[in-house]
Amino acid sequence: MTTVQVRYIVNDVDAAIEFYTRHLGFTEVMHPSPNFAMLNRGDLRLVLSQPGGQTVGGGSALVDGRVPQPGGWNRFAVEVPDLPDKVAQLRAAGVTLRSDIIPGVGGNQVLVEDPSGNPIELFQPLRSEARLSS
């Protein structure tokens, strides 16, 4: 059973589904309404919500009137076996990269943006204990 869920706010759910399934290995679980979709990747579930319009659900405005927006810096991480290769693939496909490859302690990473500008961290571990998968 998928137990970990993350919600991303997106401006265009269809464009987001296309992005996450084509470039990052997600599969669509459901897309029951134009402003909501649920995707899975391994044990991670990503729910996509489009802001505005509705009064309930993940994209709805707060009681104080604030409307959710895409963006920010908080993100989920996706492990890739070959970061330079993946970066080259994404660049060729016209995907926006927010950063270059950043060397880190446990591994190297790069920040990719979905069509709404939400960050996704691509991560290639350099130490076995930093691996996200087994």
Partner: protein, 170 residues
């Protein structure tokens, strides 16, 4: 050596070729860099301004366990299968400042979702603990959900399944 009497009952072994579509599909899956690994640890990174305060918050209010806190700007916590990385942004190593100088910040709207058994009881406990809510009136379609904030203002969504909630099992 006498023949095994059971041989008369055994079906003959007929070699078959695997369907080529099946074999091709399997090969593609194995070779694809996009294919998710068999077992992954879903990992989320949140930026926080005060690491100790954040670690304490996630441990005490939301049931996370501290896995490691090797330096003053990074901690790793677990809650079930979820791995939460907390980073203090800045110019220091591990501060995630980009080469163009942009510095990450807490906040935004993207968030982790945590399923709870009894939302009302959880809310009451969090209220007593003085936790800040972004939206505390439960709403939702097939869940009842609220949005709270960690001490740095990062959103966390709590939800309790309601009528019509769908969970795919495997």
């Amino acid at each position: 050596m006498p023949a095994d009497p059971l041989d008369a009952l055994r079906l003959p072994t007929v070699p078959i070729e695997p369907r080529s579509e099946f074999a091709d599909g399997l090969l593609r899956q194995m070779q694809s860099v996009d294919a998710p690994p068999r077992r992954t640890t879903p990992t989320i990174r949140y930026f926080v301004t005060d690491l100790d305060e954040a670690v304490q918050f996630y441990q005490q209010q939301l049931g996370f366990e501290l896995e490691l806190q090797p330096n003053p700007v990074f901690a790793m916590l677990y809650r079930g299968d979820l791995r939460l990385l907390l980073s203090v942004p800045g110019a220091h190593q591990g501060g995630h400042t980009l080469s163009d100088g942009s510095v990450p910040a807490p906040g935004g709207w993207n968030r982790i979702l945590i399923q709870v058994e009894n939302l009302d009881a959880t809310l009451e406990a969090l209220h007593r603990a003085g936790v800040h809510f972004l939206d505390e009136q439960p709403s939702g379609v097939t869940v009842r959900q609220v949005l709270l904030a960690d001490p740095s203002g990062n959103p966390i969504e709590l939800f309790e399944p309601a009528r019509g909630y769908h969970e795919r099992t495997r």
